[in-house]
Amino acid sequence: MSLWVDKHRPKSLDALSYHSDLSTRLSSLASSGDFPHLLVYGPSGAGKKTRIVATLKELYGPGVNKIKIDSRVFVTPSNRKLEFNVVSSVYHMEITPSDMGNNDRIIIQELLKEVAQTQQIDLSARQRFKVVVINEADFLTRDAQAALRRTMEKYSPNLRLILLANSTSNIIAPIRSRTLLVRVAAPTHEDIAKILSSVAKKEKVSLPSSLADRIAVESGRNLRRALLTLESLYSQNDLLSPDTPIPTPDWEIVVSSIADDLIKEHSAPALLKIRAKFYDLLSHCIPANAILKTLLFRLLPKVDAELQSEVVYWAAFYEHRIHTGSKVIFHLEAFSAKFMRIFEM
């Protein structure tokens, strides 16, 4: 039994429900016989991957759905062995090179060259080229991206790349100018509500439309999250009514309580208490930037208009520090201390 998210994932381009102009463009690309390198970007839960899988199916037929997972071993110049998982079908291959951290350049060079130098084995295949899907392309190191640059031009007869990213900010300009940019916007609240009710219908669950709207708003335009919420609501409650409470994730409750503490009391002992909560969150593997972001948007409605801009300023400041520094807890604490101070003044 699979999750509803996977079970009801559209399998072909015409089954996709929103951004229909994007779907038609992708299908016209797939049918044109030639296919450019793609850079697909958009927020998470917007349906980037689903679109790509559907496009691949359009390109090659149902064969792409037969996938296998290989574990490959690479040796770095300094003789370290790296294990790397590759998801592949006969026609395409899917990799997440950012798993390897700083060694991603080797994967890009070795693996892509190997793929590019061999031709399509299956003679009845519809396309002569193979497709490599690179996940989390915005986390590739600069070296890896520079290595990609030449590979994309040199091996273009045998190889097409599809890069998936959350944002194009971290992708170097030469790559951006070599790819066709495809933006996948997050679905609107109405789109999500519509999908939720159609899934509920297929699962024979009665879903009041007002609840569907609430889930959609609560999900922050993230379709995956909305569907997961719906499923967990269904498994927890016998009957879904318009006023069934939507549970917030535990860590968000903790962040909210931190926000309350910050407003209530401004002293060293209070800071110590908050610190324990931060440690708790971090030890549960909640990323620090997610904590800070959520904290910021919990704090903003609680402070006066004059203070809001200052809070945003410091949040952005410490968020940047989190990325450049090494110990995240310092910056989270510093933000709390700073907030207490500007709130007092």
Partner: protein, 378 residues
């Protein structure tokens, strides 16, 4: 019947693999073949033409922003000097992005520089000047390591009798001084709109691309002086709409489909979408939200809402910041002082985005700062 169709299918797929003109990127297809074809860059081309006449070439250093024709110029020059056949043995083109490091300089470059000059045949001599030296082109030389560059120093001098170097880079400051002083420098300017416009029009005509008015202008705007980017964009757009010449032949048989005709014309809208450029309406709505009103709290919440929507629509923050910059700095509504402060805020934001900060918070911070600056200046 199915047997035949299958046969036909496989043979046509083979044909696409070997010699389908559509498979070649237009950037390669329309690379200038001789120095006369190079658009703009009059100064550099003029000097190089004279060197072709007297067949003596200095070491060269080409620098300038991407897509201004540096590589095209040197390839065209090599073509004119040696002709396509001789060029194989006389020209070594090295791309620094995949093969760099000191070992390459020591082995590959040195061996090539050292080798004796091959003799041109009489036929080649009749057609091309065929000067008695080889040419080593080091593309993207600014990504070579310092060590590799200093290893080049002596090599360049020792074999200067039989070998000429051409270094190509984007940032001349990243080339070490000893190398730079050994070369005569050529600066490549970003293409003027006029020349680029003519070039794009030629390509459109040759490929039979149909486009609505203003498409070329918006391509140039998005490419920002980078001709390669402009051509790539144009090709992607044409592919997307399927509006190339060989479709047209099919078209002439059935003139009935007017709707289809319209969909095969490249539109300004699609160019904007492909180039990742944010539509002006989105930028304007953001900037409007940032302009202060007397009621601070309301102001802030509209701003917050606007930023949230834009980020969730998936627009790239880097591009947003760039266009917000253009809108604010070239606007006449603010005084110089406010603009100064806005630019400072933008530079900070840019750095943060490059370091991988969260886009939502960073963009919100920028607009809040802008709003604050404008409030103070009023």
């Amino acid at each position: 019947m199915s047997f035949f169709t299958k046969q036909g299918g496989s043979s046509s797929s083979k044909a696409t693999g070997t010699a389908n003109p559509r498979q070649v990127p237009w950037v390669e297809k329309y690379r200038p073949q001789s120095l006369d074809d190079v658009s703009s860059q009059d100064h550099a081309v003029e000097v190089l033409k004279r060197t072709v006449l007297c067949s003596n070439l200095p070491h060269m250093l080409f620098y300038g922003p991407p897509g201004t024709g540096k590589t095209s110029t040197i390839l065209a020059l090599a073509n004119q000097l040696f002709g396509p056949d001789l060029a194989k043995s006389r020209v070594l083109e090295l791309n620094a992005s995949d093969e760099r490091g000191i070992s390459i300089v020591r082995e590959k470059i040195k061996n090539f520089a050292r080798a004796a000059v091959s003799n041109p045949t009489a036929a080649q001599r009749a057609k091309y000047p065929c000067p008695p030296y080889k040419l080593i082109i080091l593309d993207e030389a600014d990504s070579m390591t310092q060590d590799a560059q200093s290893a080049l120093r002596r090599t360049m001098e020792t074999y200067s009798r039989i070998t000429r170097f051409c270094l190509i880079c984007n940032y001349v400051t990243r080339i070490i001084d000893p190398l730079a002083s050994r070369c005569s420098k050529f600066r490549f300017k970003p293409l003027e709109t006029g020349n680029a416009f003519v070039r794009l029009q030629e390509i459109c005509k040759a490929e039979g691309v149909r486009y609505e008015d203003g498409v070329i202008e918006s391509v140039l705007l998005a490419a920002d002086g980078d001709l390669r980017k402009a051509i790539t964009l144009l090709q992607s757009a044409a592919k997307l709409h399927g509006s190339t010449a060989d479709d047209e032949i099919v078209k002439e048989d059935n003139v009935m489909e007017v709707d289809d005709e319209a969909s095969k014309t490249v539109t300004v809208r699609s160019i904007e979408e492909i180039s990742g450029r944010v539509p002006d309406s989105v930028i304007n709505s953001l900037v409007q939200a940032a302009i202060p009103t007397p009621r601070i709290s309301e102001n802030f919440s509209t701003l917050q809402k606007a930023v949230e929507n834009v980020i969730l629509d998936g627009w790239s923050a880097m591009q947003l910041v760039l266009q917000i910059h253009d809108t604010l700095v070239f606007s006449d509504d603010f005084d110089g002082r406010a603009k100064n402060m806005i630019v400072a805020a933008i530079s900070e934001t840019d750095k943060r985005l490059l370091d991988g900060s969260d886009e939502h918070i960073t963009v919100l911070d920028l607009l809040v700062k802008v709003s604050g600056i404008l409030r103070k200046s009023n």
